[in-house]
Amino acid sequence: MKPLKEIESRFVPLPIENIDTDQIIPARFLKATTRDGFGKNLFRDWRYVQDDEQQPVASFVLNQPRYSGEILVAGKNFGCGSSREHAAWALKDYGFKAVVSSFFADIFKNNALNNGVIPVRVSDVFLAKIFSQDAEAEIQINIEQQTITILLTGEQKSFDINPYKKTCLLNGYDDIDYLISIKDSIEKYEAARK
């Protein structure tokens, strides 16, 4: 994984609650055996009329040219439902590096972090504040400082991130590197249980 320290970008607002992973990436697109190419099917059934790429749903935010950026801002309980990591892969492949919401489902949160997509949890009030910004507004997410800032107004909030995961993100490490490094301890644990 590449180290990730800061994201500064416009944002894509999706003010819907309980967005489940079946919406992020419908099951029929889970047949691939690689991690690539899921972005084109991100929010597929909200994006197109009857699955037809020639018929984009004009009202859906990904089809509105005035919205763009590396930050998705969504309603609470984002990523609930299935454990499919394909949801995180689809967001990443589409170009999102962070998702901001007031509440994340557990499995999605881990999947996102394991793929360098940062789940940034903010209060309902701050979330509403972001939703009320113009499409041109830029947001800065600083992982080192654990802050999220609306650049136009300067409003800033801090967010939580597990210190271990933060170190991983800043340095581009992943859990496997760590687990492999403690193999001896794992073997000792196994031997002691027998």
Binding site: A27, N77, S83, R84, N114, N162, D175, L179
Partner: protein, 466 residues
């Protein structure tokens, strides 16, 4: 202060603690299937790592398989390739695979318990959110993403933060016509689709103790639908009786010794929970969902909430979005509404007891002519047992379509789907938009309520047929 059931199992599985960070949790059993494993196999191969403990992994093909003519090659090319990839990956890495055609094949959360691979006190993971099912045996079982599947491949461990703990006590006797599925749908309706996020849930109380293992699995299965990472139930005599004689369960003296250890798995009287919820079993009615997440459920003879009854603007917006998708109106009752499909199956309700419940209701009767009924056993063994008991002929005589084992119409991935705009009373676990196929409208309910809809072609209070 005492320890919870969860604490006891968790503590036994900590290899070490990362400074200022998560625990290294040892995983006893790892189930894998064709959809969420290929990228993980790919990942360890790219790193040049072997599987650390291949003998602790059991694989099956379930999500992406047809439920008709499993002896023939899979028609859909991508599905065939994915299943083929699983076969090759398992062969290359020495993983036991119960693939299509194998007598042990079936939905991963049905075969684990059925074979006795799932045992009390274990930590169990699978790249599937319904792994919580195995918690019925007093295990810490939870769904993981593919990167985590890769971690377990590489080191048989996961880095995990200890979740908060909730206990839900269900006391008393269930009313006639009310089954385990109604209990869990009732709980989720009460605490919402995200209400248990961050928690592991222990289900306890006299009503839980009286449930069979299969009913307990139905309850634990849907823990994730309220956001909980998992759910678990303390093992007891019902559990031990279920385990005895299973192919992979210990036998003889080893079994007796194990049972002694399993008896220690319970929450101490003075154990503390971060949250507790009490439910009277007699208050639980047959349930049905009306919306697009499992928290949008109600007693079957109730009406959909009105907008006025909701306080938050966000809740009104959620209801509006859901009802627009479902083609339903706020304030409307569902009883008597026509449905076009009934699906009986999935890791929630495809075990032999579910099939027996349905068979007892429909024996000697015919389904309504305007409804299509799909009944899909959870495993090859469930299918064989149904046949031994003559349930297959009951279903066929009723006009049901009896299929072969798999996830089937639960998730709109394989060939079994519900057409856009049509209603399906389903015993599965999710009513998300498009879950059973693009545009499909799912109403979650128990096997009894599904059987009632099959007979009448309408949403029916099963108690009127008892």
């Amino acid at each position: 202060m005492g320890a919870t059931l969860f604490d006891k199992i968790w503590n036994q599985h900590i290899v070490q603690q990362v400074n200022d960070g998560p625990s290294v949790l040892y995983i006893d059993r790892h189930f894998i299937h064709e959809v969420t494993s290929p990228q993980a196999f790919n990942g360890i191969e790219k790193r040049g790592l072997p599987l650390f403990r291949p003998k602790q992994i059991v694989a099956t093909a379930d999500h992406n398989v047809p439920t008709l003519h499993q002896e023939l090659p899979i028609r859909d090319e991508l599905s065939r390739l994915q299943v083929q990839q699983l076969i090759e990956n398992c062969a290359r890495h020495g993983v036991e695979l119960y693939g299509l055609g194998h007598p042990n094949q079936g939905i991963v959360h049905v075969i684990g318990p059925e074979l006795g691979v799932t045992q009390p006190g274990m930590t169990i993971v699978c790249g599937d959110s319904h792994t919580s099912t195995h918690g019925a045996f007093g295990t810490i079982a939870f769904g993981i993403g593919t990167s985590e599947v890769e971690m377990v491949f590489a080191a048989q461990c996961l880095l995990q933060n200890k979740p908060k703990q909730m206990r839900i006590n269900i006391e008393g006797e269930l009313l006639p016509g009310v089954v385990a599925k109604d209990i869990i749908l009732c709980i989720i309706a009460q605490i919402s689709a995200g209400g248990a996020t961050g928690y592991f849930v222990e289900y306890a109380g006299s009503a839980i103790r009286k449930l069979s293992m299969e009913a307990r699995m139905t309850i634990c299965n849907m823990s994730i639908e309220m956001g909980a990472r998992g759910g678990l139930i303390a093992p007891d005599e019902t559990t031990f009786a279920y385990m005895e004689g299973r192919p992979f369960a210990p036998a003889g003296d080893a079994f007796t010794k194990k049972v002694a250890a399993w008896r220690e798995l319970y929450s101490d009287a003075d154990a503390a929970f971060d949250m507790e919820l009490n439910i009277q079993a007699a208050q639980v009615q047959p349930m049905i969902t009306f919306g697009t997440n499992p928290g949008m459920g109600m007693a079957i003879n109730d009406s959909i909430p009105t907008y006025e009854s909701l306080e938050a603007e966000s809740e009104k917006a959620n209801l509006k979005k859901a009802l627009t998708y479902m083609g339903l109106q706020a304030g409307q009752p569902l009883l008597g509404m026509q449905v076009q499909h009934v699906f009986i199956g999935s890791c929630t309700n495809s075990r032999i007891e579910d099939l027996r419940l349905v068979a007892a209701m429909v024996k000697g009767k015919k389904k309504h002519p305007d409804v299509h009924v799909l009944i899909v056993p959870g495993s090859q063994e469930v299918a064989r047992q149904a046949k031994r008991e003559g349930l297959d002929s009951i279903f066929m005589d009723a006009g049901f379509e009896l299929r072969q084992a798999g996830c089937s119409a639960c998730l709109g991935m394989n060939e079994d789907k519900v057409p856009a705009g049509e209603y399906c009373v389903s015993t599965s676990n999710r009513n998300f938009e498009g879950r059973q196929g693009a545009g499909a409208r799912t109403l979650l309910a128990s096997p009894l309520t599904a059987a009632a809809a099959a007979l009448t072609g309408k949403i029916t209070d099963v108690r009127t047929l008892l």
